[in-house]
């Protein structure tokens, strides 16, 4: 699962060097500040002698928020480190500790960092943890990853386990299991925080998280317009906010601000995407953070805009009570059955009118890539759009190959062109 980096990599880095990058919009700037503040708050807490936690991206942040605990997110940190090209070095450092190079790149980067290897990406430095919050709704690798951190630092681990679900609905049995774990987690985290769980603050955090989720979904929905008022790659960057600061008012406000900007673009028929849109695709999977520029290059060259990413529905947790919150946290991309996964993706593909799908077979993410071949067949069958897969990695550049990727993109573009012609001929 991934998030992102503070620079608008796609829009700026991929642009020709001669042009100075356009200044970021107020909304984008506000979103960047939210993430920087999360990192800063962790350092402040550490300086004050307060405990700092490391949390998986889909651990219910509402609890830590209600207890006023400072928390940072290793997945976001790893993505940031990888995007700033320090991932390979960190991965190798983990391999020297004995972690195999087949292990998730985020986990390797994070474990190297936890063992004391500093990163060159200063914006993603974090204080060492006093506790860890693990929710394995995205993968079971997370469980072992956090156990390793707990072992390295001899600190408590709070585990919220989300068993894989074979059905589209979340059963009452699973909700009961989740609720009990929430209670348990709250109890353990009260001890760490040294204060009682404050229901009022919790309600506020939940309200904020809901507001953020709705604003996030609203922003994502602007990709439905043709042409889209932004490059879908921007969403990868804004993911950082949904991951690290869902429960904060500032996050909701920043997304709402961005939404008004997009609204304006739609009215004026303008876009922040740095090229005219000819094709629209869904980008399936976590991007290859170290190679964003390489990912973006052939898309831009062919006028391919990413108008759908799975993160949109995957992080739009909207709920109204504890039970529905438990249900919401059961639904992460890698914890749901294939039918749910297909439904999410085909939903946004239809809404956002894509012409094709680009599938990342991610060496770092076994649960995600594990049923993509079947999904690809369904996309083609159900949506009538071509799909192309490529090999890559969310954090380890050694598993990505630009030449292969460019060929696959070109193939996809040619297939989309053919499909378009066919459709036009029929019409």
């Amino acid at each position: 699962m991934a998030e992102t980096e503070k620079t608008t990599v796609a829009a700026t880095e991929a642009a020709p060097v001669k042009k100075a990058p356009k200044p970021a919009s107020p909304g984008t700037q506000a979103l960047r500040k939210v993430v920087s503040d999360v990192y800063a708050a962790a350092w402040t807490a550490k300086e004050k002698g307060e405990p700092v936690g490391w949390s998986s991206s889909k651990f219910p942040c509402e609890i830590a928020e209600a207890l006023g605990l400072a928390v940072v997110y290793p997945e976001n940190q790893a993505a940031g480190i990888a995007a700033q090209h320090d991932g390979e070095r960190m991965c190798q450092a983990a391999e020297e500790l004995g972690f195999d190079n087949d292990i998730c790149g985020y986990a390797r980067i994070s474990l190297a960092y936890a063992s004391g290897v500093e990163t060159t990406n200063e914006s993603r430095r974090v204080p060492m943890p006093d506790f860890v919050l693990c929710c394995n709704n995205i993968c079971n690798c997370m469980t072992k990853w956090y156990e390793n951190i707990a072992r390295m630092h001899n600190i408590p681990l709070i585990m919220i386990d989300v068993p894989y679900n074979n059905e589209v609905t979340v059963s009452d049995s699973q909700v009961a299991y989740m609720r009990a774990q929430f209670d348990d987690a709250i109890h353990q985290m009260e001890k760490i925080a040294g204060r009682k769980f404050d229901e009022k603050k919790f309600e506020q955090a939940c309200a904020n998280a809901n507001r953020t989720a709705k604003a996030w979904l609203k922003v994502c929905d602007y990709l439905q317009y043709k042409p889209a008022p932004m490059s879908g790659f921007d969403l990868f960057n804004h993911m950082a906010d949904v991951v690290t600061a869902r429960g904060k008012t500032a996050t909701a406000e920043a997304f709402e601000l961005l939404a008004t900007e997009l609204e304006e673009h739609v009215k004026n028929g303008t876009t922040t995407a740095p090229f005219p849109e000819q094709y629209r695709v869904m980008f399936e999977g976590i991007p290859c953070w170290p190679d964003l520029r390489a990912l973006f290059k052939p898309l831009k060259a062919n006028g391919v805009n990413v108008t759908a990413v799975v993160y949109a529905p995957a992080f739009g947790f909207v709920y109204d009570d504890m039970d529905s919150m438990a249900r919401a946290y059961c639904k992460a991309p890698n914890s749901v059955c294939i039918e749910q996964g297909v439904e999410w993706r085909e939903g946004i593909c239809r809404d956002n009118k894509v012409d094709g799908v680009l599938v990342h077979y991610n060496r770092s993410c076994k649960p995600w890539s594990g049923y993509m071949a079947e999904m690809q067949r369904r996309f083609t069958k159900d949506l009538g759009v071509p799909c192309a897969g490529f090999d890559g990695d969310q954090a380890d550049p050694r598993n990505f190959n630009q030449a292969q990727y460019e060929t696959r993109v070109q193939g996809l573009v040619e297939a989309m062109e053919e499909t378009k012609k066919l459709k036009e001929a029929r019409a």
Binding site: N136, N140, Y164, Y177, A180, Y361, R363, S369, G370
Partner: protein
């Protein structure tokens, strides 16, 4: 029967699972495939059916499974799918698909899709927070689902009495296997690595009543032998599976005996018994809750290195001089626990080697070199 004859019988079963499957089907029994890990086989037995272990294969090539799977997945899971697709397991009446690792999660979906018109797939998601009351409850709920699905296949209700009875049968079988592992150590001149593997592997393809009877006979024969004075090296094996006779032959070539194991396909599968009193469904949940020191399971006391130390102790207590880790390629639970295991072994002064293996390996040249050199190291 002589030891030789008994071992031969196990070896035949272990080498011919397909024939075994046919044998039970010919007897009019229904058979249920059981994928790794920790599926409650007792329920299958209680339903009057034969559970059939699915741990890949050493002599199949992954081909049709590629339709569903990228290359970077554990070959056990891929070969299970392959055998479901290529007809090897056509005689099964159902398959249980646990989902405790990141490969088995999507694989449960691939199998369900691929088998949609062929075979009922029974889904199982174990909880990781398995010890607290709410974890036990969730396990019971999951097992209840399995029980119902099995009833649909067998066409008859699975009674509590039958489950209680199956628990007793399984406890007995586990005890016999634990006993065998000890005897195999004491008589490693007779029970060589290949034979040891065959005896333990056969358990996956036989009803436990039948298996235990045979194993008890073997154990009795072994107990009657004088303890051997072993001059070669002794190791503990660790990993998911190491049942390839070609690989084990290398152990025999260099006089390396297996003193004990920490292998998922072997001892990890029969360390823990289920309580024989009380509600039998809860007893099975309790059994799962008590599973411990396992790479696949969450450890509530993760800040200490309990598993690593457990394995290091196993080496010491079994009289082995070193550990051979069969690192199943692309198995991230095993890979994630390696540095901690290494630390515990190093701290205890136990040498080890790590052999990268998968079930598509046909050439063992590198493994041979490493095993031979390791024998040199530990016989210093």
């Amino acid at each position: 029967m002589s030891i030789e004859a008994l071992v031969k019988e196990f070896a035949e079963v272990a080498a011919n699972p397909k024939a075994q499957l046919k044998k039970y089907k010919d007897q009019g029994k229904k058979c249920i495939g059981v994928m790794p890990y920790f599926a409650p086989e007792e329920l299958v037995a209680a339903a009057g059916m034969v559970p059939f272990g699915m741990w890949g294969s050493n002599d199949k090539t992954i081909s049709q499974a590629k339709e569903y799977c990228a290359t970077f997945y554990c070959t056990i899971a891929q070969l299970d799918l392959e055998m479901l697709l290529d007809g090897t397991l056509d005689l099964l009446d159902g398959v249980i698909t646990p989902t405790i690792c990141d490969t088995l999660r999507p694989m449960s979906q691939n199998i369900r899709v691929a088998m949609s018109e062929k075979l009922p797939c029974i889904f199982l998601a174990h909880p990781q927070n398995r010890k607290p009351a709410f974890g036990l409850k969730f396990t019971v709920d999951q097992y209840t689902h399995i029980r119902k699905e099995l009833e649909k296949i067998s066409g008859a209700p699975v009674t509590d009495e039958a489950i209680s009875e199956a628990i007793k049968v399984y406890n007995k079988s586990r005890a016999a296997r634990r006993e065998f592992v000890k005897l195999a150590n004491a008589h490693c001149d007779v029970i060589t690595p290949i034979k040891r593997s065959a005896v333990l592997k056969a358990a996956w393809f036989m009803p436990k009543t039948e298996y235990t009877e045979l194993l008890t006979a073997l154990n009795a024969e072994l107990s009657a032998l004088p303890v051997c004075d072993w001059k070669g090296a002794k190791v503990v094996t660790s990993g998911i599976i190491c049942d390839n006779p070609k690989l084990l032959q290398i152990f025999e070539d260099y006089n390396i005996a297996i003193a004990a194991d920490d292998v998922a396909h072997e001892s990890r599968a029969f360390r823990v018994d289920a309580p024989e009193s009380g509600d039998p469904m809860m007893a099975l949940a309790q059994q799962f809750a008590e599973q411990d020191f396992d790479v696949l399971l969450y450890d509530e006391q993760s800040s200490s290195n309990r598993r690593g130390e457990f394995v290091a102790n196993l080496v010491k207590e079994s009289g082995a001089k070193g550990l051979v880790l069969f690192m199943q390629q692309f198995c991230d639970p095993e890979e994630m626990e390696y540095p901690s295991l290494k630390k515990a072994l190093d701290d205890a002064g136990i040498p080890h080697i790590r052999l990268g293996v998968d079930q598509q390996m046909r050439d063992f040249g590198q493994a041979r070199t490493a095993i031979q050199a390791f024998a040199d190291v530990i016989s210093l």
